[in-house]
Symmetry: C2
Amino acid sequence: MNDIMIDTDTISPQAAAQGWIDAFNQALAAGDAQAASRLFAPVCYWRDLIAFTWNLKTVETRAGVHDLLAATLETTGPVTFTLAEPATQSGDLVEAWLRFETRIGRGEGLVRLRNGEAWTLLTAMSELKGHEEPMHARRPMGAEHGVKPGRKSWGEARAEAARTLGYETQPYVLVIGGGQGGIALGARLRQLGVPTIVIDKHERPGDQWRKRYKSLCLHDPVWYDHLPYLDFPANWPVFSPKDKIADWLEMYTKVMDIDYWTKTVAQSATFDAASGTWRVMVDRDGVAVTLRPTHLVLATGMSGKPNIPPFKGMDRFRGEQHHSSAHPGPDAYAGKKVVVIGANNSAHDICAALWEHGADVTMIQRSSTHIVRSESLMEIGLGDLYSERAVANGVTTRKADMIFASLPYRIMHEFQIPVYDAIRRKDADFYAALERAGFMLDFGADDSGLFMKYLRRGSGYYIDVGACDLVIDGSIKLKSGVAIEEITETGVSMADGEEFPADLIVYATGYGSMNGWAADLISQDVADKVGKVWGLGSDTPKDPGPWEGEQRNMWKPTQQENLWFHGGNLHQSRHYSLYLALQLKARQVGIPTPVYGLQEVHHLH
Amino acid sequence: MNDIMIDTDTISPQAAAQGWIDAFNQALAAGDAQAASRLFAPVCYWRDLIAFTWNLKTVETRAGVHDLLAATLETTGPVTFTLAEPATQSGDLVEAWLRFETRIGRGEGLVRLRNGEAWTLLTAMSELKGHEEPMHARRPMGAEHGVKPGRKSWGEARAEAARTLGYETQPYVLVIGGGQGGIALGARLRQLGVPTIVIDKHERPGDQWRKRYKSLCLHDPVWYDHLPYLDFPANWPVFSPKDKIADWLEMYTKVMDIDYWTKTVAQSATFDAASGTWRVMVDRDGVAVTLRPTHLVLATGMSGKPNIPPFKGMDRFRGEQHHSSAHPGPDAYAGKKVVVIGANNSAHDICAALWEHGADVTMIQRSSTHIVRSESLMEIGLGDLYSERAVANGVTTRKADMIFASLPYRIMHEFQIPVYDAIRRKDADFYAALERAGFMLDFGADDSGLFMKYLRRGSGYYIDVGACDLVIDGSIKLKSGVAIEEITETGVSMADGEEFPADLIVYATGYGSMNGWAADLISQDVADKVGKVWGLGSDTPKDPGPWEGEQRNMWKPTQQENLWFHGGNLHQSRHYSLYLALQLKARQVGIPTPVYGLQEVHHLH
């Protein structure tokens, strides 16, 4: 039985959406999880971003919906959904933007209906009642009108708060790592009034980009990269040069009044379960400081901890060798022989910059790589959501983020495969030329391309901004498909007997799981308790199952109380920092946060 | 005869607007200034911001319109106007937003029709054809895709350009003064590709605010204060504290890639009419540099040059005395006796901060002051254009600026008088209490209030953020309506015999005309040739006639070739920097810029 089976041939999308919302509200008001779940299609996906579950969680099937609601409705309700704007129809799908209110918060959502039943539902909390951010009509006055003896000016009060936090007062949250992730989270927590320190080892915010190789530019376009609260201006470059994004991050940290400690390294952290707080020993520019935050966020980078496989003979190599993350750029290597081991983003960027500066460069490709030309990715892969065209069509960054978030990870590859099929057709000559040069290509385990590779394993691709032409024409020498036998005193020796003499070897061999940071900082026990960070459980290379349905351990509660992981690209740093910040805010002010579906641990790293 | 007399009772505002536009286009296409002028009402105002006149110019009456068109149409045409959005009607006025295109540029406009005739018309150029700013779809790529040996990274190229400009290459424009005005203009010229150096005496951009007294906050609200290209975020305070606006200006200068020389003072400037360039001697952090810009912009502040009247006996005063612009803030004056001469914004702010910090403060009011409470100004004076409410109603900053610009200065007071009448009624008790305390109030020469005072003379008011209560309750002692006899060794002696002993005297006595800067930097001859800067010619106190109809010498050609004045509040710095930048760009690329109605000089200062 389905009370609201609707024939979308005869009724308007608006009426269909309103009918569904009314029925859903009614079921929720009655506390009837069964009735509510029957409003979903048998094959369905409900993705909730902390509004019902205090978790990032996707449930599937009516049984999943029923389970979620049965577990959460009592603490979440009363819940009311309303239509946020007129519903639209596309093929047999009705799409409707939602607003909703729960007992403790307000949120936004997106539902897709087929034959009157929900096929996908996204619910995302946007604010906690009584703890709304001081924006727009709620923004601070700045000047305190009226005059009070002894009053501190804004500058004095700000300076004193910055001086005492971490010493006379303790932060509620300590964020370790002040790249884009830590900065975006720091900005949100500041707005929410959660005392927070962001620490970073570098001299200046933005050094995480500034200090990398000099030709580096963002590979994602500007529309995808906005930080919270402050969009890049309309004249910002499409692909931000690294020094420009570094300067932006630095000024953003300043104008957002983030308490950001530069030249600061966390040395150890222990959790005291009795008091529910961490004890973190940090070195702040040579001075030891002990911090006692309640929550610890590792924002040290989803590709933060360099990984170098143990090649035989590495220790006897007489030249210079370093991981790609330590590569200083090409200037010192004109006329030198350089071997770059790896064939992903960093390897390509480094090879191209070295070649530009007159080095003799060989790239050793050990396994196949997914290549997508930047132009094609922009045009076909991202353009509907993140582009000047999207903006002109009314797809704001917030809307784009919500649309992107509304596609369930379980079926996201189905949307991605046709995109990459189109790209392969468009760029067929380019791919053929790469293969003629001996380059081993792939398009992901199921041909679903770049985003799925990123979400599943965070590696295995290069967004081509020019290096491929150098591989094709032989300017960058390519060795592919043959194992490395050993590193010799003078270079790299391959299993087929070929030798590549080298003055410099760059290991562009990627990064480990983020719980490696927890092992270094806290303990191996805690790292193992938390388990692997990143990946969906897709059972594809470097993303072992079982299916998790969300990024493992990212932005949501982990098995270690009060330990969180944050990061990803600028898009993720922007979007998911909101939900992480709201989770922390709720805990700060004592709002109960029962977690539905806390993830289990299946892999240690 | 009037072909298009339209009965707005019977036709839609849309049809009325479209009919007028069609007729106007037709007259312009025919080069018929006479016919075009007949489309205006007998009492009418056309304000043009450089689109037709290469000037900021308001003409009145049909004869004025005819004269403007007869002089400009040949070089400006072909011109085509279109309706930018549906016209609206309010009372007997039809209001229509316009877009238009001339031979060399594109612009926006706003026309108000009454009985089918134009009562007011605003035309404002927004871009030069072929020199559009690299924004939105035209924004730079950032990454140069493709790989070229020897290519400089963005950071390297930017650093080299910054290093060589002013030495190996010459700026086309030199802007003297790097406050909000110089910075906004610098940003626009950078976007337009006009090589520009902004110089400023301070250590850091923003020091113009940072170094002032510590309780200072902007008296204008955030919606009025946005800089070009980059709005303040939604969490920015309504009234920005001075350190916060200072930090914003500093980061803005950085992220907008403005070539900004700190610790740099211009010492002399001479114009070489033969080469059409300036020779400017500057001291850059102790090193002499000669610059040869084609254009010189003085952005040293419309209230930049301190003015202290010569009081008898000043030289023998044994305490400390300084102009308000040099006041360091209250910290050193707890327990001291301070006399502040003046009763405008700075005087009130300084008195309140001194009282807060325990000084014994006397304010000497020499002439009447216009007082308006900040809340009332926000609610009644600005709210329709610059407020959260305005933003919610679709009045963007750009639209608000254009609406504000579309009200002819000649009749602006007629719109302002009712606003201040309403404020007087609302705050009647407050004003009565001030008068009981002996404070001399005015509302401007014709009761038109704050904005008109600002536009006419730039002085004579205080936006109350609390100090008035201290005057009312006697915390700040007030002496009013009596002339100062002399400054004695120990204080201030009044004409009625009263003596005010003082450890510190603050002269909050205002500022001179900006051409005083030209006298200091260039010569008295050039200052006299240019004449008084600021004011409309309203023939009210401190704004002598004859009627000019625009701000004298601001943002438009002056009688001194290649010398310009720029400045004003943040609103003006934002809005008028566009027209100044376009005038400079046109000259840089050799577009003819025949100036219609170059202002005459009637006053030397």
